[in-house]
Structure formats: structure tokens, C-alpha cells
């Protein structure tokens, strides 16, 4: 599970995340919504231990990430927003490298790599160099990396960004499937995605939670549409 308590993150004088508190239990899929710059990625970066919080605490399965980073990171699978990859490696080479870092070796490593290649439909590009991959494959390769160690917690920053409708459908199905046993938090701009795969959703704006609930309750709150609620509650960056 993920426990976020009074999390604040400041960059200089700008407050990206403002006293955010929430928790995600095992078996839950939390959809993280918000306009660009609302603090979604920053929150995820703090949760995964990439950047430290200015104040507040994050616990992953009861382990504080600030004080025991390595132990907490073992529990997390993370797909960063831009799906960064080592361009000069092949898909298989990259996954083998990540598996080694995740503590696999020998036959167990090959098994883990084969498993995620299958889960993320990467069979056709296994031996291809990453810099020649299309965006969809790059995304799925990075997603595969996050599943290698069968983590208890998955943090996915816009997992369907740049995918075609078929791939989006597959990834949503995968998230729903994985969500039965794991704790998942994923961010998205696509509101229909929330209804398709989340058990709970949260809308944040300017670093604060402005709405929270099941997709149904949010829909009711927005008089029939989550989009309406989203537009009502969040600040538009093009508004004068």
C-alpha cells in the first residue's frame, strides 16, 4: 500500500505539491487526474523516491521512502512520464540489465525477462535496438521494466500516453488485471480511462486534492460527466 501524509514539495518559491494526504490500499487502482502542472508527476516522483519531499512523509508498504530508500524501492515498479530508456541497448539487453539491478540472476533473470516480454507484447522487437522503436513500443518496454520484479506497488505516470487505441485498450486491461492484487496509482489526462480501469479517482489542482471518490460518485458530482467536474474544479492555464 501507499501512504502519503501531508506531503509538500517546493521548488524555490513555487509550491508544486501542497500538503497532500491520501492512501491507496492493496487491490485498489487510483486514477490521478489533473491539468498539466497540477503536481501529478512531482507527487509520483516523491512517492518513488526520485526527489525528496520538502515536508511530509511517504510510506510504501509501511517503509518510509526517505529513511529506507532501497528497501522501499524494491517494492515499487515505476513508469516515468517520458518512458526513459537506454537508447543504445536492445529491448532484451535493457530488460536483462534492469532485472540484474532488481536482484535477479541466471535462470530467474531470463524467466522474469521472458514473462514481462509476454505481458507487454514485446516479442517482435526483443532484439531490436531501442533507438529504432516506435513510441508505443518504447512505452511498453518501459512498462515491462516496471513489472520485472512483480512489485506490490505500481506507479505509472501516463501509461497510455502516445499509444494507439488498441494499445491503450490492452494497457487498461493490464492495469485492471494487475490491480486485483497490487496497489496501483496512475496518472492520466484521459478521463474515460478513469472509468475504464480505476476503482477510485482523485482530481488535483495546484498541488491540492479538489475531488476524490469512485468514478461513479465523481460522475454524479459532475452531473453525469467527470469531464464537467474536471472543468469546473481545475484552473485552466489558458484562462485570463
Amino acid at each position: 500500500m501507499i501512504e502519503v501524509k501531508n506531503l509538500t514539495k517546493q521548488f524555490g518559491s513555487k509550491t508544486a505539491v501542497d500538503d497532500l494526504s491520501f492512501s491507496v490500499e492493496q487491490g485498489e487502482v487510483l486514477g490521478f487526474l489533473g491539468p498539466n502542472g497540477a503536481g501529478k508527476s512531482t507527487t509520483m516522483r516523491v512517492i518513488t523516491g526520485f526527489i525528496p519531499a520538502s515536508s511530509g512523509e511517504v510510506e510504501i508498504c509501511g517503509i518510509p521512502i526517505a529513511r529506507q530508500p532501497e528497501n522501499a524501492k524494491r517494492k515499487i515498479g515505476y513508469l516515468p512520464e517520458s518512458a526513459p530508456l537506454y537508447e543504445d541497448m536492445t529491448v532484451a539487453g535493457f530488460l536483462r540489465f534492469c532485472a540484474s539491478i532488481r536482484g535477479f540472476s541466471g535462470a530467474a533473470r531470463n524467466e522474469a525477462v521472458d514473462r514481462v516480454i509476454e505481458t507487454c507484447f514485446l516479442q517482435t522487437v526483443v532484439h531490436q535496438s531501442i533507438d529504432t522503436l516506435s513510441k508505443g513500443y518504447r512505452h511498453r518496454t518501459c512498462l515491462a521494466q516496471s513489472l520485472l520484479h512483480d512489485p506490490e506497488v505500481l506507479v505509472l505516470d501516463e501509461p497510455t500516453d502516445g499509444l494507439d487505441p488498441n494499445q491503450k485498450h490492452e494497457v487498461r486491461k493490464l492495469i485492471r488485471e494487475l490491480g486485483k492484487k497490487k496497489t496501483i496509482i496512475f496518472s492520466t489526462h484521459i478521463l474515460e480511462e478513469v472509468e475504464a480501469s480505476c476503482t477510485r479517482a482523485m482530481i488535483i489542482d495546484q498541488g491540492r486534492i479538489v475531488a476524490e471518490g469512485t468514478p461513479e460518485s465523481l460522475r454524479n458530482e459532475g452531473s453525469g460527466s467527470i469531464t464537467e467536474l474536471f472543468r469546473k474544479l481545475t484552473t485552466s492555464d489558458v484562462a485570463a
Binding site: 516522483r45 518513488t48 523516491g49 526520485f50 526527489i51 525528496p52 530508500p69 532501497e70 528497501n71 524501492k73 524494491r74 515499487i76 515505476y78 516515468p80 517520458s82 526513459p84 530508456l85 537506454y86 537508447e87 543504445d88 541497448m89 539487453g93 540489465f97 534492469c98 540484474s100 539491478i101 532488481r102 536482484g103 540472476s105 518501459c142 521494466q145
Partner: protein, 271 residues
């Protein structure tokens, strides 16, 4: 200077034992570095230029041609040029290591895996170092040549190679520390080559003679101070076949200091 050296070694040791150190992590990062180096055509071009430079200077430098000198010792020919060539070669080898992680964004990936920053830094350093080691191995053709043409004393040659490895290692560490600060490979090279050259020049004989001959107390003190930070006095001793503990200590502390700085910069950059 030795106080700084001891301090640097202590700091790096503290960073290393600050948590459980996973050799497996260092090994995985090391293998990735070496693999990625040899998949890029740039690596072969760099190595080729390095070997051409070493051989050309050794055999063709006017007035210092090895074959015409009829000497089999390599100290004044082959090894004489090593620190100068390494001042260019080592930064070029190491420039990609951290700059690429930032450019590709993979630093976010690796930082959220159970890897300590110091493991990443050590793996990167060893990766570049082994490429340097391989490059130096290829220069053994010169050693073979003098062994066929004459009867060299092999001891000083082995010690000279050890000196080259240490100088190269120190320069790689300098370049890695610089590349932790900047995201650009060009800036990394443009800053670290002058630093490495400076570490050579300030201990170079003509420069040292200038300070020593000046007769002014302040200047000769400056000369001694500069010699103590330069790689030259240490390297010259190695190439004569003298391996002194204080010089071993010097190289280890330069490397330790740079790796510690890299570790600190990377950690602070994330906040």
C-alpha cells in the same frame, strides 16, 4: 595536500559504507557501461585516434624518435607523452557516462531502482576505466617493438604502465565529476580537458624549473604547492620504475575526491 587526501579517502569510504554496498549492482552498471561503449562507433574512433597519437609521438616526434635514439627504455619517449594524451583521451571516454543519463532521462529510472548513488558512480567509473585499460593494452605493440630491437629493462615499463593507468583513472574521475554537474557532453569535455592539462602542466619540468630558479621564496613555495597537486612528479617516478607509497596515495585520493564530489552532486541535484 595529504590532509585533503586523507579527508577525501575517508569521505568516500564513509559514502561507501553508509549502507549495504551491492557489488552485483556495481557489476550490472559496469557491464552496461562497457557494452554501451563498444556498441557506439565513437568508441572505436576514439581508440583508433588514441593509438595513432601514442605511436606517432613515440616514433615520429622530431628529435625524439625512439628507433633512432637506439635506446630500449621507454621513459623519455613513449611514457613521456602519456599524461598529455590521457588529458584528452580520458575526458572523451568519460564524457557520456552521466551526461547521457540526464539527456535520456534514464537517471530517473535508475534512481528509482534499489541502487545507491555511490554504486552508480563506482560502476560508471570502472566502466570507463576498463576501456582505458584495454586501450593501454593495445599500446603494448611499442613495448614488443623495443623488446625485439633491444633489451629493455621491463620493470620500469611495467611501472610506467601502472603510472599511466593511475593518471588515466584520475582524469576519468575528474571528467565524471564534471559530467555530474553539466548535462552537456561538450561542456564536460571543454571543462575537464583543461583541468587535466593543468594537472599536467603545473608539475611539468620547465614550469617547475621556472619556479625553482626564480629565487623568490614565495614563488618557490608556489612551485612546491603546484607540484603536490600535479600528476607529473608521481608519473615521472612511475616511469622510472619507482613506485612510492605517497604517490599511490596521491592517485587514490584524487580518484576518491572526485567520486565523492560526483556522489554528492548527484544526490543534491535531485532535491
Amino acid at each position: 595536500m595529504s590532509v585533503i587526501g586523507i579527508f577525501a579517502i575517508l569521505l568516500l569510504t564513509a559514502a561507501l559504507i553508509g549502507g549495504p554496498l551491492l557489488i552485483a549492482n556495481i557489476r550490472a552498471i559496469f557491464y552496461r557501461e562497457v557494452n554501451s561503449f563498444f556498441t557506439s562507433p565513437l568508441a572505436y574512433v576514439l581508440m583508433f585516434i588514441f593509438l595513432v597519437a601514442v605511436n606517432a609521438l613515440t616514433f615520429l616526434w622530431p628529435g625524439r624518435e625512439l628507433v633512432e635514439s637506439e635506446q630500449a627504455a621507454l621513459k623519455d619517449f613513449f611514457f613521456f607523452y602519456h599524461p598529455w594524451i590521457l588529458a584528452f583521451y580520458a575526458p572523451l571516454l568519460a564524457m557520456r557516462t552521466l551526461a547521457d543519463e540526464h539527456r535520456q532521462g534514464t537517471i530517473e529510472l535508475i534512481s528509482t531502482m534499489p541502487v545507491r548513488t555511490i554504486e552508480l558512480v563506482c560502476g560508471k567509473f570502472l566502466g570507463s576505466f576498463i576501456v582505458l585499460f584495454a586501450s593501454l593494452l593495445f599500446t603494448a605493440s611499442v613495448w614488443i617493438t623495443v623488446s625485439i630491437l633491444g633489451d629493455p629493462d621491463h620493470g620500469p615499463i611495467i611501472a610506467g604502465y601502472l603510472g599511466s593507468l593511475f593518471v588515466g583513472g584520475a582524469f576519468i574521475a575528474v571528467a565524471i565529476a564534471v559530467s555530474a554537474v553539466t548535462r552537456s557532453q561538450v561542456i564536460c569535455v571543454a571543462v575537464s580537458i583543461p583541468i587535466c592539462l593543468l594537472l599536467c602542466i603545473v608539475g611539468f619540468d620547465p614550469v617547475q624549473n621556472f619556479f625553482a630558479d626564480s629565487g623568490v621564496g614565495f614563488l618557490s613555495f608556489t612551485g612546491e604547492l603546484l607540484a603536490s597537486i600535479s600528476v607529473m612528479p608521481a608519473f615521472v617516478d612511475f616511469s622510472k620504475g619507482l613506485i612510492e607509497i605517497r604517490y599511490l596515495f596521491y592517485f587514490v585520493s584524487v580518484i576518491a575526491l572526485c567520486l565523492f564530489i560526483t556522489n554528492t552532486v548527484l544526490q543534491s541535484k535531485r532535491s
